[in-house]
Amino acid sequence: MAAVHDHDIAHAHDHHPTGLMRWLTSTNHKDIGTMYLWFSFIMFLTGGVMALTIRAELFQPGLQIVNPEFFNQLTTMHGLVMIFGAIMPAFVGFANWQVPMMIGAPDMAFARMNNWSFWLLPPAALLLLGSFFAPGGAPAGGWTIYPPLSVQMGMGMDMAIFAIHILGASSIMGSINIITTILNMRAPGMTLMKMPMFVWTWLITAYLLVLVMPVLAGAVTMLLTDRNFGTNFFNAAGGGDPVMFQHIFWFFGHPEVYIMILPAFGIVSEIIPTFSRKPLFGYSSMVYATASIAILSCIVWAHHMFTAGMPVTGQLFFMYATMLIAVPTGVKVFNWTATMWRGSMSFETPMLFAIGFIFLFTLGGFSGVVCAIVPIDIQVQDTYYVIAHFHYVLVSGALFAIFGGAYYWLPKWTGHMYDETLGKWHFWLSMFFFNLAFFVQHFLGLAGMPRRIPDYALQFADFNMISTIGAFGFGLSQLLFLYVVLKCIRGGAKSPAKSWEGATSLEWTLPSPPPYHSFETPPVIR
């Protein structure tokens, strides 16, 4: 809006439609960020209901609640919805809100395309969830949609494929937008090595996204033509190979897990220094560690396929390359710990989630190293051990960081302080029930309980019962989060511009809530 720029900052938040049109047509990074976050929360609850149905079925041995076909659809859709619908959009929401404010820009580089990136998500979600109502039901071959199962399924699979195409387009546009914003719109003086860690982690994440999302699009396109147009990419009789899908898929899939954790590293790297009242320890090593993780993540994909059949040389390469990732990740964990060392620490909710993140994500990292060891992986492949591992990195990793980030920036976004007591309750309930739900799954996996099966042998009954109780407790605790957020939006103690005493980055120089266009004139960077 050309005219707006001639006004004072104080008058800048006018000239935009209100009501529904404000959201449908928005070119404002904060509005779009808000929509991303709400969309992600709705998807989180949707995927959560699927998870709870799965856990309810597994409460006792035998078949109680759902039939096995529907159970398979639930596990598949839970994965797809949580990854593409909840975790990824949540981080893009954070990027939308925070990146322009943290680098001193007025908005994202491509404000209209930013709107499209978001508004592609609801059609994709409709397609994906609509597949439940297609003949044959939703995809049921696991979120990794391996052929030949995914080639044999009904129309729901095609709907999921097109949903993935649209989600991929959204991610690609979003990441190009973020890269361009960070490279081209930093305030004068904001050199790359002065950028907040959250911005750095998102820059690297966005590079991973433009690298691998098109490859996923290629993989599902081959699946589509194998299903409907008679190609033989994944059919041995035609000279293809179902394992080829696994290679192409995991070339996307492994960087994808870092796409879901690097922004979490960024959020934690903002929270820990603030509540330790010390600068981040080893800033440049954090940047290099993030970049190293991203690069390594592209050459480890076949560790998801140790049992698919591969030369021993290949197994050794992918095993060692995978374990190498523990080095830069260790650098990060030690840097966070060193940041807290002798800091003047306080334990508000964001800090609790950040510390919970470090503790539990590290546990998930350890079980990851265990899974990386070929002889062990051959034993635990497709067991609950793997389920426990990736829920430790994705729930107590990515999701805890999202909660921490939400509490950290809610005062900035809404202008109100959230309810600290309820926030702490939310943390401790989540912490307790999360571990109740998932820690026991390590034991189940080591004892040999397979994943994606609705029934199990009697000896697994006790741990499954505990896990289900934990899952329901965790799920219900998230309603408390919803309540805290709504309460914070509607009112509460006024937040000053700098909501946290120890906060240093640029967004805290803006009033809370910030003006419609963040920085009309570039701020001065020391």
């Binding site: 047509t25 580089a109 095609d158 494929i161 098109p214 990419f233 000279g239 080829m244 290679h247």
Partner: protein, 284 residues
């Protein structure tokens, strides 16, 4: 738009084009899912979505072109466009990478594997010769050699790369006549290429029994050349739009990123073709 200090940035007003595009993709997604399952209502839904998409593209790009011509974009916006286009082309490279990767995997890995001693009990007569339709598809077919139409198409695309560069020089030197001619030749060559590819496909299906269903070779051949042909078509349409803008007097020697972005894209499809010519047509 004031531009003091160069610090101001053009933030576009709220726009209905993105939501229109989302509506288009909603229709296209459902329409395509129904269509590939041969459910008749799907074709109409797909066509509706496509029509909305075309409408959206006209409207959105038209808006951007008008904004550019009215001088709303400063140097910083220009640089954003350059970053954006570069990374978009990078994602296209990765998309083709998936299909090239599939080709290499099948040629170097799955086909030799199917012919090795472990699989002799299943397919005793299968040998790992490329091109192949695989051990289970026994229909005879002829492979597409490089030195007929494909070589001519290579010449056509390389020539179009020269003509678009010529047009760019003409634009920079403000020689509008040469610019118009160079651009016209470029998209004409592009459409000629697509026409010849269509002819080649017809020939493959009717004379050579080479089809999309012809195993590993047919799948990689048609998917790689098909997606490339689709990109040439889109690129030619983009060049045509730029040509129309040139006829309307758009672009100046200093400010013409619309032209450059399309030229980058055109060089990208050119380079992909060279990869196709070598790995799909030549080395068989």
């Amino acid at each position: 738009m004031s531009q003091q200090g160069g610090g101001h940035y053009y933030v576009p007003a709220p726009s209905t084009w993105p939501i229109t595009g989302s509506l288009a993709l909603l229709f296209m997604g459902f329409g395509a899912a129904l269509s590939v399952n041969r459910i008749p209502v799907g074709y109409g839904v797909l066509a509706t979505g496509f029509a909305i998409l075309i409408y959206m593209l006209f409207g959105w790009f038209g808006t951007v072109a008008r904004e550019s011509e009215s001088g709303k974009f400063n140097k910083q916006v220009d640089k954003s466009f350059r970053w954006g286009m570069s990374w978009f082309i990078f994602t296209e490279v990765m998309f083709f990478g998936a299909f090239f990767g599939a080709l290499y995997y099948m040629r170097m890995h799955s086909v030799p594997d199917l012919a090795d001693v472990d699989n002799k009990i299943l397919w005793p007569d299968f040998t790992a010769d490329w091109p192949t339709a695989g051990p289970g598809i026994t229909e005879k077919f002829m492979p597409m050699g490089p030195w007929g139409l494909p070589a001519l198409n290579t010449l056509i695309l390389l020539t179009s790369g020269v003509t678009v560069t010529w047009a760019h020089w003409a634009l920079k030197l403000n020689k509008r006549g040469q610019l118009k001619l160079g651009l016209f030749l470029t998209f004409a060559l592009g459409f000629l290429f697509v026409g010849l590819q269509a002819y080649e496909y017809g020939h493959a299906y009717s004379e050579m029994n080479l089809k999309l269903t012809t195993g590993a070779y047919g799948a990689s051949f048609f998917m790689l050349t098909g997606f490339h042909g689709f990109h040439v078509t889109v690129g030619s349409i983009m060049l045509f739009v730029i040509w129309c803008r040139v006829l309307k007097g758009h672009f100046t020697p200093e400010n013409h990123f619309g032209f450059e972005g399309v030229a980058w894209y055109w060089h990208f499809v050119d380079v992909v073709w060279l990869g196709l010519f070598i790995f799909v047509y030549w080395l068989i």
